[in-house]
Amino acid sequence: MDISEKINTAPTQEDELEAFLDLTPELVRKRRSQGKIIFDRFIRNRAAIGGLAFLVLLILACFLAPFITGHNQPDVIHLSDTLQGPSLRYPFGTDDLGRDEFARAMFGGQVSLEVGLTSMLVSIIFGIGIGSIAGFYGGIIDNVLMRLTDVVLAIPLYLLLFVLSATFSDGSPRFVILLIAFFGWTNVARLVRGEFLALKEREYVLAARTIGARSFRLMFLHILPNAAGAVIVSATLLVGANIILESVLSYFGFGLHLPSASWGNIIALGQDLYDSAPWLVFIPGLLIFFTVLSFNLVGDGLRDALDPYMTER
């Protein structure tokens, strides 16, 4: 028997293993990619899927429904139809000027969602920038940036936003977005910094550095993708928080000014008519509530799906 024959007849590793292991369905199951595993876990979370479905429906409704259903004139006054309760003609009723509340809620939803989503994006970018520089370089840079974060965190956020908004705001969505984003980065920055502090000591980063990767490449191509999970989760939760923040600002008259109506403004306007037309407060209130709830459910679902320590079911 020559050597090549010996190699061919020698039992392969798999054959050996088969003798010891029962082939349970888990072992036979096809190997799934990382993305597929995360997707499968997320799909199984019914609450998160419910939240996601609501958000998709809401976004479609806010941006399309006014045009499909013909409720596309939020500012037109119908003096013959003032303060009507929800009906077929006006699904969400009308206000004291006879304006179509459904159209107002949908257009207000566009503004609320726009503010929530864009301010999240801007603060995530700030947070990633500040957090990754602080975590990667450490030392005095880290110290300075983190003290800055501490200062911003120490001032009660609402007071700061009220003061800034009362001073500089022109009440446009762009200003409110920047304002919320400008002070919303602190938690993301701390989170990213923490991830960077842990990840930059790993061997793979050292390996990349050894073969000549520069700091920028290390930070954004090697370390950041590994911190992505935590950032995605906090981004999702931040959208809900920012929608609430915007509605509080607008409710107290420090947020968006008319004509850019958001759900917060609609509530503030409807409050005076609460006794005769409670739907003017209830409907935008419920919309805020369910939107934020959905973002939180999706965020928690993502957290569970992305957590590598979760036991695989």
């Binding site: 003290r147 009362a166 001073t167 609430i244 407060v281 509530f289 934020v292 709830l293 459910l297």
Partner: protein
Amino acid sequence: MGRYIIRRLLQAIPLLFLLSIFVFLLIHAMPGGPEQVIFNPHLDAAGRAALRASFGLDQPLPVQYIKWLGNMLTGNFGFSFQTKQPVTDLLSERFPNTLVLFAAALSIALVMAVLLGSLSAQRQNSATDYTLTALSYFGLAMPAFLLGLFLQDVFAVQLHWLPVSGTQTLGFSFDFFNGLLDRFLHLILPTTALATLFVAGWSRFMRSSMIDVVKQDYMRTARAKGVTPRAMLFQHALRNAVIPLITVVAIDFGSVAGGAVITEGIFAWPGMGQLFFNSLESRDFPVLLAILVIGATFVIMFNLIADILYGVMDPRIRYS
């Protein structure tokens, strides 16, 4: 431990210093000044200048800052543009009301969060657990002002069980006991509105922290030695599970302060929050400055206390 406390106190000083510069510049970037607050059409240019000089606003900004800082360190926050009263008087008038609301809401939120969180953890995956989880999601998604409005509508306007707003019934003279009861009744709704916002998040945190602790080996040892499940939960697990909660509460402290301002706005609670709204409308800088600085100082101090408590509760943590 003593050295650690001293070092943390020393670290807080530059933070407070930075913060005072930040707030000072912010407030001075606001348009307006005393001459706009005190509406007087007969005021000519010389009169305006004199008015500005009387508040020290004619001096260069760094000089103003140093004077303000020096005065503040001796407890003098200057004079309100609007009422000409010392800011310290205005604040000390309002401070007790805010403190009562704040302390009541904070302690109720903490007790409820610990109780509900432990309950959910003890009965993990039971109907109770799911109900509490669902409720906490509702609490987290509810904006502060909406909850306040709904509570006000249901319990005060519709049911007439509780007073709508304020700290006491005006125009009545009560004897001591009824006066106290009256104040207590006024406190219920704002406290509930403020506390609910935080019970939701904190109880979730408490639940997961408790579940982590219950899984530990020393808990199994205690059970094996015959400790009853109830005693295990309350004597062995609770103390360790509360430790991480302290940090979360400390981080949220600023939000509780912000929430208190909103609650005061809704329930017309005559505290610092309401003073803040009034001063903001009239651009009363000295009052705004004082409120922001005091608020931020409290947040920093509370974080410090939380760090120290952390060490007291968990002897494994050694500060070097």
